[in-house]
Point group: C2
Chain length 206, copies 2
């Protein structure tokens, strides 16, 4: 096997990006492999050389997009500063990231729906959610340690916060006109921060 310079990574990226573009315009199920092929500037055989099926291609794209989204989040968040400030940075990350990738967000939604059915997709999305929650959990922990926040179960709190952002994104994707993303995410962050600073409610019965 004579080794030529390996172009498989470039090719895969090329195909994945073509797929992302087509999916965002036409949706997951209305997009055809032929369209992706055309956009990728390869041929049918070429695309199928790197991805055995449409499902496999989709799964790979989910993986890539989840990793990318997390990366953006981390980037904004690693700016540092006190915990509350980081929350606000995260808030910005959310709003900016979403807006920047607004076209991709509808595809992400389709991926979420797919995750409930396809094990490979589910694994990727699951990991994304877990990582997202992990990230938030770190903040909550730091806030509690520094005394800025009152004690609570950091994991559950982080889950709530992550859910809040995911939910806001969902509402916005479905009806962008009804929601001012920046305003609402700021408000949401403020609400959560206030709740974290307040004393925990008496947990009766549990």
């Amino acid at each position: 096997m004579p080794p030529r310079p390996d172009v498989s990574e470039e090719r895969k990226v090329q195909i994945l990006e073509a797929a992302a573009a087509v999916f965002s315009r036409r949706g997951l199920h209305d997009s055809t492999m032929d369209e992706i092929v055309e956009r990728s500037a390869l041929s049918k055989g070429g695309v199928y050389w790197y991805f055995k099926s449409k499902d496999e291609l989709v799964a790979a794209l989910v993986d890539r997009m989840c990793a990318g989204a997390l990366h953006i989040l981390e980037h904004f968040v690693k700016l540092g500063g006190p915990v509350a400030q980081r929350f606000i940075a995260m808030d910005r990350a959310m709003a900016d990231g979403i807006r920047q990738l607004s076209k991709m967000r509808t595809v992400m939604l389709e991926f979420y729906a797919l995750a409930a059915r396809d094990p490979a997709v589910r694994a990727s999305v699951r990991k994304y959610f877990q990582d997202e929650i992990d990230l938030v959990e770190q903040f909550v922990r730091q806030g509690i340690e520094s005394g800025e926040f009152c004690p609570s179960d950091p994991r559950k709190t982080a889950t709530s916060i992550a859910a809040l952002y995911e939910g806001l994104t969902l509402l916005w994707v479905v009806d962008p006109a009804a929601i001012d993303l920046e305003e609402n995410s700021r408000q949401a962050t403020a609400l959560v921060l206030a709740g974290l600073r307040a004393s925990p409610p008496p947990s009766r019965k549990g």
Copy 2:
């Protein structure tokens, strides 16, 4: 035209329920009209007598399910009592409702994704979200009036809360094992209530 007793409503329900069952098992796009036909105990022609196309059938089902979900929410919520208690009722409504309709939730997710593309579906989902937010807004308003909550923009606050519940549902649908729905929704509600009781953060720059 000899008027026979109108069975169209029953038939439509019959078909819609068949569709819901099939969709929840096989997903929106992998479900075929033939499957729905079989399940509905009608014939192809019969189904197409009431719904002109698969899209129309889907749209009708979205409408029905959104209305149903809202109905459940309203039911739990109309129990009355002080505002905080209603929040907890809403929390229960969320957890119970979701769990009861867990099979349907994956379909709902697919509908959300569809809403970003199909105008008819979008209209239904939009209305559902708006109604949901409206409901929460009422609570927030009441809480503020009664002095239980500190003043804030009730609409935005309600949006945050609705987003929180939608997001929690999303996380749970994708990864039920990772989240204790009841525990988390209780925690989330507690967090929000704490935030609402606390004083609003100084809204600089607004």
